[in-house]
Amino acid sequence: MEPLIQLRNMEKVYEAGGSKFYVLRRVSLEIQPGEFVTFMGPSGAGKSTLLSIIGMLDGSWTGEYYFNGEPVHRLNVKKRNELHKANIGFVFQSYHLIDNLTVFENLEIPLSYKNVPHKERVSLVCDILDRFNIVGKKDLFPNQLSGGQQQLVGVARAVIQSPKLILADEPTGNLHSAQGEEIMELFRKLNEAGTSIIQVTHSERNAAYSHRVIQLKDGWVVSETSNAARVG
């Protein structure tokens, strides 16, 4: 089977004052469709940067990156954006819901950027509200929700466009343990339903939900371990 993600010798470097600072060094890895992978490592290891590159939010790197067989490194910005819009959903530690929009509107946003017709958008949003059991919250603004509820909406927003891949950066970092567990269970179910997931986390407990843990340090991939004792 063709890997969903294939990175070869990926490097990212900052230049400042004539010196080079490597954020990622010769990263090569493969992630299969349906896989749940965790990036771990100390602060400054390059985890979030790698996540941004995989999510195609960052285009300044060298090396090769294939997404579902498409050579991302050869695509122009427009094509990359299209690939990103069509296949990737994001979940953030701080939820990053848009304050001025209701829950319904927050969920509608990614669909509108994909030019999904209005009727279809409404139908999809209603489905997801139902699926995530948040129909009653649809007219509330983010500041009227608890942290867990906000992250639930954040995940729903990532899922609504049926992405092949969900990228989650410390998705439970701002939640207490019960809420965190609820979100991780949600990820597990989504993964079981076929969505690939990559998360960045410091939590061993969250890492236990993934099939594989990739350790990064100073920009290098230092280890890869399969997770025999995966939750679920």
């Binding site: 954006n81 994001f90 990053h96 001025n100 950027y113």
Partner: protein
């Protein structure tokens, strides 16, 4: 469309969530858009709106031209030849303006009359609303006198009585039959007319075919045939005039034709100042835009997270720009709506404050063009101030912004440079306005300081006209005027009284100096001639430079005399060799008879009759007693303790005792008449000055905003500096240095801009160069001072940063 509506809904929500920002922005925009809309209302009504006639672009105005008098009235014979020989006009009609006195219907009333040739209103494509038009049968010598009424006069005097047609009106002692009423849908000067009557009925008095050299105040309108251009029409008319010059060299000389579109002829004098005003008020809006853009940029920092999330969710750059632009356009539309209300108020004040003589001001209104202009201006304004923040926002660094703990509240170098640029641009534009206003104000000061040749203080004037039918010989006219002056002089509170015709300026007459060779035909010099009673010149404060004023001995039985002005003397005579010289006035002396020579008995200072900033012609004065005429002005100097206006009743009674059918009208202090010449200039100074002050305030707020923001952003740095031992003075210097850098950049650009742009207003300046160094320097210094003042509050706040508090937050 659905997306646009959604963007608008979100934008509205965003704006309502920041009521303070929204209110400041909307108010700033309302001021800018409102001022622009108000000035545009005037520009639209005066310069742009077509005249209220079908196909008015085919209407042209015609006058005669000669080297000495670039624009003069058309002689009757020339008019007839122009009309007969041209192939470019569908029709060509003539007119002449006059005043008549209506009697026999209560108080005598002076009315404004226009004599017109038959076909005048059909040429304009205007039909009477009542009765009939003037026919060729009405418009010839010997025809029964008929008159058409203006709608305004019909309403005011006859309450729109339809039975007025067929009734008789006694005008200047002659009975006229009313044949119709014209609609008020006419352009300004025509709409102000009370009456219209036949012109050619007076053919004999107008010089007739025989006197081609006489220019009796006739001008012409014509309607060009379809497809004929103004250039084509002008070329043909000039060719006809050249041909007439060859046929009649004695009377025509090198005369030619003035032909211009009717609208241009009406508004050409006010076009430059209106365009300068439009430019100035546009600058105010630019400054307002820069201010709002700066506010949006500052807010952009706060909104970066939202925009980064949108990018992460798949928003394209255009979609982000569209979202941010929707907000700015919504803001400016709100500003536009408020501005429109403001404009209604400003426009009304403008119309009230505009001096008489500015054409078409009575047509100013907020029509569809104005609404469309305001709408478009609002949209463009929203795009102009929104585009920089929108583009800047669309470049949000997603990874950096969304990363937990990443920088979300600091201004990047690009954004800071953009904000600095906008503030420097505000300073620059404000300086251009300030210098423009300064130059205009200095011109006004010079105008007010200039010697106009008369002393108008404490002088009251009033006009009268003597109907030819009753005052049909010189003796009657002479007698009436001398008695009126005597009665006026005897009124309590009157120091002296006189009579002058006309009050300012004079009828242009060609003259010949005795003993000098006769210039070629058409090259005779000319002078403004006015008739004065002996007391008029001292009453009006006209300074005698040599010789004497007229006295009672200068009458019909004595040697004919004249007084000339100093310009006349300098142009024609050696110094000290003027008095006693003789002049003939009224064209070349008649062959075969002794000319009516006028002996020069005095020289007076030159009078700037049309305003000290306007060109004036050489002047000659003759005694009223030696050349009595049918109308003029009584001039009365009041005793020091008397208000000139208080003399009105006495003067009315004086004239009524002489002839109850002669009204005195237009009672006005001479000072008001003189000031009227500067009123338009004063209004321009007031407006441009207000715009400059507004721009200056906005720029000061802009500088304050940027500096305050800088102090907030660099609070940590300031804390470190203070912890390392920086004194308050050094911190103050640091802030002021940045402010000064912005000010100097803006001032340098502003000076360059002002040097380029003030040239465009050089024809509005008076005795001040467009590059007047003191004005430029004063403007720059004033602006620098205000910018530094705007820096002072943030600078003071910077010195109060507590290093411990500032560093604790790190």
């Amino acid at each position: 469309m659905a997306d646009l509506l959604r963007d608008m809904r979100y934008a509205l929500r965003v704006l309502l969530r920041s009521p303070g920002f929204t209110a400041v922005a909307v108010l700033t925009l309302a001021l800018g858009i409102g001022a622009n809309t108000a000035i545009f209302s005037v520009v639209n009504a005066v310069l742009l709106r077509p005249l209220p006639y079908p196909e008015s672009n085919r209407l042209v105005y015609l006058g005669e031209w000669s080297e000495q008098v670039p624009e003069m009235s058309i002689s009757m014979a020339n008019f007839n030849d122009w009309r007969a020989q041209n192939t470019v006009f569908e029709s060509m009609v003539g007119y002449q303006s006059d005043n008549v006195v209506l009697t026999g219907r209560g108080e005598p009333e002076r009315l404004r009359l226009r004599r017109i040739t038959a076909g005048f209103f059909p040429t304009l494509r205007v039909r009477p609303i009542l009765g009939r038009e003037l026919t060729p049968e009405d418009d010839k010598v010997g025809a029964a006198p008929v008159v058409l009424l203006g709608e305004g006069f019909w309403e005011r005097r006859f309450g729109r009585d339809p039975r007025i047609v067929g009734q008789q009106l006694v005008l200047d002692q002659q009975s006229f039959t009313v044949i119709g009423v014209l609609p008020s849908r006419l352009h300004g000067s025509l709409r102000q007319m009370d009456l219209f009557t036949s012109l050619w009925r007076l053919e004999d008095e107008l010089g007739g075919e025989s006197n081609r050299g006489s220019h009796p105040g006739i001008y012409a309108y014509a309607r060009m045939k379809p497809g004929v251009t103004v250039d084509h029409a002008r070329a043909e008319m000039k060719s006809i005039a050249r041909h007439l010059d060859e046929l009649y060299p004695q009377s025509n000389g090198d005369d030619s034709v003035v032909l211009q579109p009717l609208l241009d002829a009406i508004v050409e004098d006010v076009r430059p100042s209106l365009l300068v005003l439009m430019g100035a008020v546009g600058f105010v809006l630019l400054v307002a835009c820069a201010n709002i853009a700066n506010l949006l940029l500052a807010r952009g920092v706060e909104r970066h997270r939202e925009l980064a999330v949108r990018i992460a969710l798949g928003a394209g750059r255009w979609q982000l720009v569209r979202q941010v632009l929707t907000e700015s356009v919504l803001l400016s539309l709100a500003g536009g709506m408020l501005g429109l209300l403001l404009a209604v108020w400003i426009t009304a004040a403008l119309v009230r404050g505009t001096p008489m003589g500015v054409p078409r001001m009575d047509e100013v209104s907020a029509d569809r063009s104005v609404l469309f202009f305001t709408f478009c201006l609002s949209i463009v304004t929203g795009v102009v101030f929104g585009i920089f923040p929108a583009l800047e926002a669309s470049r949000a660094d997603v990874q950096e912004t969304l990363r937990e703990g990443g920088r979300t509240g600091t201004a990047g170098g690009g954004r800071r440079r953009l904000r600095d640029f906008l503030v420097a641009a505000e300073v620059a534009v404000s300086l251009v306005l300030l210098v423009g206003a300064g130059l205009m104000a200095k011109s006004l000061f010079r105008v007010l300081q200039a010697d106009g040749g008369i002393n108008p203080a404490n002088v009251l004037t009033a006009r009268l006209s003597l109907p030819d039918a009753k005052y049909n010989d010189d003796a009657k006219r002479r007698n009436f005027v001398s008695q009126l002056v005597l009665k006026a002089q005897s009124l309590p509170g009157v120091e002296a009284a006189g009579y002058k015709n006309p009050l300012l300026g004079g009828a242009q007459n060609a003259y010949v100096i005795e003993g000098r060779p006769l210039p070629p035909p058409g090259r005779l010099p000319s002078a403004d001639i006015s008739r004065v009673s002996p007391e008029a010149m001292p009453v009006m404060g006209m300074r005698l430079l040599s010789g004497r004023y007229f006295d009672d001995h200068d009458n019909e039985n004595t040697q004919h005399v004249c007084i000339i002005d100093e310009t006349f003397a300098k142009q024609n005579f050696a110094a000290g060799d003027v008095l006693g010289k003789r002049i003939y006035s009224g064209g070349p002396p008649p062959a075969g008879q002794e000319p009516d020579w006028l002996t020069i008995v005095g020289i007076v200072a030159h009078v700037k009759n049309y305003g000290v900033d306007q060109p004036s012609r050489v002047e000659m004065y003759v005694p009223e007693a030696q050349r009595p005429a049918g109308g003029g002005s009584i001039v009365v100097r009041s005793a020091a303790a008397t208000d000139p206006a208080a003399l009105t009743t006495g003067l009315r009674e004086a004239i009524r005792s002489l002839d109850p059918d002669i009204p005195l009208y237009e009672f006005r202090p001479l000072e008001d008449i003189v000031n009227e010449n500067t009123a338009s200039r004063r209004l321009s100074v007031l407006l441009i000055g207000s715009f400059a002050v507004l721009a200056l305030l906005l720029a000061a707020v802009g500088v304050y905003g940027v500096m305050a923001y800088m102090v907030t952003q660099r609070g940590h740095e300031i804390g470190i500096r203070m912890a390392l031992g920086a004194s308050q003075r050094e911190i103050l210097e640091m802030v002021f240095r940045q402010g000064l850098r912005l000010a100097l950049t803006g001032i340098a650009a502003g000076l360059a801009g002002a040097m380029a742009l003030t040239r465009l207003m050089s024809n509005l300046l008076f005795h001040v160069g467009a590059l007047d160094v003191p004005t430029f320097a004063t403007g720059a210094l004033a602006l620098a001072a205000i910018v530094l003042l705007a820096c002072w509050l943030p600078a003071r706040r910077a010195t109060r940063v507590d290093p411990i508090v500032a560093l604790r937050y790190e």
